[in-house]
Symmetry: C2
Subunit: 129 residues, 2 copies
């Protein structure tokens, strides 16, 4: 299987497959012509990476998760710990964005939003602090 097929059946772009290889998440055999060759096992790894990325795990976490996945002796506690730390990070980030949205929504609510130039939003951005 060449990289294009691996990309199609894993949902990871060929570009990213090469990138993941370059940072050592993956390795690929090469055929005589220099093309990367993939087996089903590799496609499974790529899908794993994609799923982890879909959950927002940074690639360094993905690297650790792959290590834990490949280690059949790992304790599930390690995986859970990593996952919950990531959940906390996601929620912290989400709360931060919500706070920004709420502040801005409040400012916007006090803005006429008509043809007049007065604008509490700009006034707030221009505040001396």
């Amino acid at each position: 299987m060449n990289i294009g097929d691996a990309a199609a059946s894993s949902g990871v772009s060929a570009k990213m497959i090469r990138h993941y290889e370059s940072i050592g998440l993956l390795s690929a055999a090469r055929s005589a012509n220099g093309y990367r060759v993939y087996a089903e096992r590799d496609v499974a790894v790529l899908r794993f990476i994609r799923h982890a990325r879909d959950l927002g795990f940074p690639l360094e976490d993905v690297r650790r998760l792959l290590g834990l996945w490949h280690d059949r002796q790992r304790a599930s506690a390690e995986v859970k710990k990593l996952a919950l730390a990531h959940v906390a990070a996601l929620e912290t980030k989400a709360r931060s964005l919500d706070a920004m949205a709420a502040s801005l929504r409040h400012l916007a609510a006090n803005c006429h939003g008509d043809g007049r130039p007065d604008c509490p939003i700009l006034d707030d951005l221009a505040r001396k602090e």
Copy 2:
């Protein structure tokens, strides 16, 4: 006022002040020795930028906001429109993070988290899809 003082009183790092200048958000006079020179007016602009960044506006939005701020004839409607579009983007992003967190939290809840190797989190990441 040199860049260090402008940084201290605006809360924007000297590094970022130079960067903002390089992308045209700001301009600075130069003294005979080549040092950038800032007036209170410039510090106000820097604070404006910082506040907008604190609300998560990307620099391209900041550029537009600065334009609207400098234009005393602008209609507040334009500012409000920009602000609400950004609020929507922030909320979309926050909901996306929350969805990831909820999925992962659900998986983690079903993971023993003890010394055993079984782990629904890894099973899910390894699913064929």
